[in-house]
């Protein structure tokens, strides 16, 4: 992290003990706390997996080829191809986030020109990719409701919507955060002095992204 040694903006303050800005340490403790939040949600999903007493089910649980076999097949409700696409979108947003931070940190340095140096582009791109992910999620939720799965239907519905809903709420906060940074960038321009502002939002954004990788693997991919 190149932005760690940002001097405190005010004269007259003693230097920090670690040399890091307070906000950087605070965001890490916050992320630690968020880990426990998502751990609780994901654990509950896994503990309740397969315990719904009625459908729809996440994966194909019962059919002629399953063990034990049964006559009528319950189709899987999770659409892995579509979610793979939205996962890809979210992963790409982490890339644009890295580029946004690099653009802010290196603004004005020789060799940093063109699109690579445009923090506005990358901040906005990250926000748009995040919003696209949310669009996928809205589509997924609506189609589930049409297929008869709501938060009340069964344990799968309760745990699935709560878990992914919490994640979606975190992405929403992240998008608002990025749009705020974008607005600041448009208004007065973000430079190396502001790297920390972008840095902490990037930490949050990557964390939300990593959580999605866990959710995608544990909820969607593992049957």
């Amino acid at each position: 992290m190149a932005a760690t040694a940002v001097p405190h903006p005010h004269q007259g303050h003693p230097p920090t003990t670690t040399g890091l800005d307070h906000r950087k340490i605070a965001i890490w403790t916050f992320i630690g706390s968020e880990c426990m939040l998502f751990t609780s949600l994901i654990s509950t999903y896994l503990v309740y997996k397969g315990r719904s007493v009625n459908g729809p089910m996440p994966h194909t649980t019962c059919g002629p080829t399953t063990n034990p076999p049964c006559a009528t097949e319950l189709p899987a409700i999770l659409d892995i191809p579509v979610t793979s696409a939205s996962t890809f979108v979210l992963l790409m947003s982490s890339l644009t986030m890295v580029l946004a931070l690099a653009a802010v940190e290196n603004k004005g340095k020789p060799g940093w020109t063109g699109i690579l140096a445009s923090s506005k582009t990358w901040l906005l791109a990250t926000a748009i990719l995040g919003a696209t992910f949310l669009g996928f999620q809205a589509y997924e939720f609506t189609s589930f409701v049409h297929e008869g799965l709501t938060i009340k239907t069964n344990l799968f519905g309760s745990t699935f919507f709560t878990l992914t809903g919490f994640h979606g709420a975190h992405v929403t906060v992240g998008v608002l955060w990025l749009l705020t940074l974008y607005a600041i960038d448009v208004k007065r321009g973000l430079g190396p002095k502001d790297a920390l502002l972008v840095d902490i939002s990037a930490l949050y954004w990557h964390f939300v992204d990593v959580v999605w990788i866990a959710i995608f693997t544990l909820v969607y991919l593992i049957q």
Partner: protein, 659 residues
């Protein structure tokens, strides 16, 4: 270090801060916020005490008729919830606020406005929860809120909603404070104040913040599930749908057991400050005290299911949790012995603060041993849900936490008011509280072992329970008198107490180098620390010869406290108990931050508004249960928008004026 002339160390300072209601509403000064926490939590202590008193009146004789069963449920639920979340935790937070920056040599916490926000959220959340009394629907599911008792099927009024939403609000307060204090301790220590030189209270506070950060999200999720079950018809705790009420118990106790250490470790920290001062000896085994605190916190996450032996988890789980629970007895026992060895051979002065500290050591040991008793599942199956358990946790939480916090109040009162509390009244308070406490809770061991169940509003005559219950009730009345004396002492000493001077007790840590009360900027010059006991290095170096210092021969040199260099600090050492001597009658004025050129954060009303809107946003969920989901939606959106606008306005305003 050019400011030696500034911030003279003296008593009776003519230093004045801004006063008035507005200055308190907008304050971002950690000391003022600490005082707000102190008085608010003591107010709730009176409310929670009144609830307990009513319970004891009801149980004074068989088949009591004072309150109904429903009222009894509300009283014991709110007594527990109040004492844990509205009293002991915020009272500890009061000390975190007052002491951490002073002990580590900082001018404030890392995020002063966030600190104010934490307090306001606590205040509004506690009021919200108690508003339930006004409509006669106070929480009635126990402080643990077990499902399915608390699900909609069995609790269709607003009682549990107040509890569940109130705890979520209070969780925000605790988490925000924890992020703040961790950052403060990691990042704002004075030069030379490395981790193994931190005062032990700050160490225990540091550990507690990690417990908060890791434990609170878990109960938040448990509460969210409960809320969704009650409001939106999800099936998390619904057995018909395949859900499992035990999920609640696991999530609750994964939070609930670390919570126990959140309640006790700050008191341990305070006692570890009080005992060395009044024994005039360094704390025995300082590093081991630190390590045992860390070990208690670590093991505290691995013992939660000992609250659940009765649900039938099977022999393997029972054995595992029994063993980890007994293991926690080791680091805790280490602490007890270290306190005893600190006093051993010391020049012990039995001030009120010291008596309360010794009471913690004695009473917590009793509660700890009964705790090890029901760490064993066969014993626990006999004792669970009886008064034996009530006796156990009141010995650790009242005999432990509350005694320790009272020790802290008597010890630190002079630092933040400039005056000592009356030792005479304090002795009355101590002895009545000590005798009353034992008279209340000791007989509960017997009534519990005889099978008297907890949480039951009446008992029949002729089972041999009458005498024990009568004793418990008389003990409770004695405690009530003790608390009244304490409150009286707290109030009158503010005006009539003896002037304290900087260091009335001859204490070793940095906070005692400052005037009492300290100026808003704390330290005119950031001190440089060369050992664990910077003030003893100056005043009585013979006490710290065995304590590690930076370098040989550097002992009392290079210690520069509050702008004063070594040897210039005048004070009275070894005062008689409570007999603070006005050590310095200098009328020199303490300079303001502006005169010293110290940048200070601006006061701000925004944290209060954001906290208010957040609380109202949570409160707006109540109409969902009153058959008005439309109204709820409108109100939630309204307050969420206001909160967000407030937050933007807060974050886009710099903390300080530009220089």
């Amino acid at each position: 270090m050019a400011t030696a002339a500034h911030a003279p160390v003296h008593a009776g300072s003519s230093y004045h801060e801004e006063t008035g209601l507005w200055s308190w509403l907008t304050t971002v000064d950690h000391k003022r916020i600490g005082i707000l926490y102190l008085y608010t939590s003591l107010t709730w202590f009176l409310v929670g005490g009144l609830e307990a008193l009513t319970l004891r009146m009801q149980l004074q004789g068989p088949n009591g008729r004072l309150v109904s069963a429903e009222m009894y449920n509300m009283l014991f639920t709110m007594h527990g919830t109040t004492m844990i979340f509205l009293v002991v935790m915020p009272l500890s937070a009061a000390f975190f606020n007052l002491l951490i920056p002073l002990q580590i040599g900082a001018r404030d916490v890392a995020f002063p406005r966030l600190n104010a926000f934490s307090y306001w959220v606590y205040l509004f959340g506690s009021i919200f929860m108690n508003v339930s009394w006004l409509i006669g629907q106070a929480p009635d599911g126990g402080w643990f809120g077990y499902t399915p008792l608390t699900t909609y099927q069995f609790s269709q009024n607003l009682n549990i909603d107040f509890w569940m939403l109130g705890l979520q609000i209070l969780g925000v307060s605790s988490l925000a404070a924890a992020f703040n204090f961790i950052t403060t301790i990691v990042n704002m220590r004075a030069p030379g104040m490395h981790f193994m030189r931190m005062p032990i209270f700050t160490w225990m506070a540091f550990i507690v913040q990690f417990l908060l950060v890791l434990a609170f999200p878990v109960i938040t999720i448990a509460l969210v599930f409960l809320q969704f079950d009650r409001f939106f018809g999800t099936t998390f705790y619904l057995t018909q749908a395949g859900g499992d009420p035990l999920l609640w118990q696991h999530l609750f106790w994964i939070f609930g057991h670390p919570e126990v250490y959140i309640l006790i470790l700050p008191a341990f920290g305070l006692v570890s400050e009080v005992l060395p001062t009044f024994s005039r000896k360094p704390l025995f085994g300082y590093p081991v005290m630190v390590y045992s605190g860390i070990l208690i916190a670590f093991l505290g996450f691995g013992v939660w299911a000992h609250h659940m032996f009765a649900v039938g988890m099977g022999p393997i789980a029972d054995t595992l949790f029994a063993v980890t629970t007994m293991l926690i007895g080791i680091p805790t026992g280490v602490k007890i012995f270290n306190w005893i060895f600190t006093m051993w051979g010391g020049d012990v002065r039995f001030t009120v603060a010291c008596k309360f500290a010794i009471a913690l050591v004695a009473l917590f040991t009793i509660g700890g041993i009964s705790g090890v008793m029901h760490a064993s599942p066969p014993a626990d199956l006999q004792q669970t849900d009886t008064y034996f358990i009530v006796a156990h946790f009141h010995y650790v939480l009242f005999g432990g936490s509350m005694m320790g916090l009272w020790a802290g109040v008597y010890y630190y009162y002079p630092k933040f008011t400039g005056r000592l509390m009356s030792e005479k009244l304090g002795n009355w308070h101590f002895w009545l509280a000590f005798i009353g406490m034992n008279l209340t809770f000791m007989p509960m061991h017997w009534s519990g072992l005889m099978g008297m169940p907890r949480r039951t509003w009446v008992y029949d005559a002729g089972q041999g329970l009458e005498i024990y219950n009568l004793m418990s009730s008389i003990g409770a009345y004695i405690q009530a008198v003790a608390v009244l004396i304490f409150v009286y002492n707290l109030v009158v000493s503010r005006k009539r107490g003896q002037r304290a001077g900087n260091d009335p007790w001859g204490a070793p840590t940095l906070e005692w180098a400052m005037p009492s009360p300290p100026p808003d900027y704390n330290f005119a010059t950031i001190p440089r620390v060369t050992s664990r006991y910077p003030l003893w290095d100056i005043k009585s170096p013979e006490l710290t010869t065995d304590v590690p210092h930076t370098r040989e021969g550097e002992r009392a040199i290079d210690v520069d406290v509050a702008g004063k260099h070594v040897g210039h600090v005048s004070h009275a050492i070894g005062n008689p108990p409570g007999g603070a001597v006005n050590s310095d009658h200098s009328e020199q004025r303490i300079l303001s931050a502006k005169e010293l050129g110290i940048p200070m954060p601006n006061p701000s009303i925004k944290p209060l508004f954001v906290a208010l809107f957040m609380t109202l946003m949570f409160a707006s969920m109540l109409p969902i249960h009153m058959g008005r989901p439309g109204l709820a939606t409108i109100l939630i959106i309204l307050f969420a928008t206001l909160m967000t606008l407030g937050l933007y306005s807060w974050l886009l305003t710099p903390l300080e004026d530009a220089h």
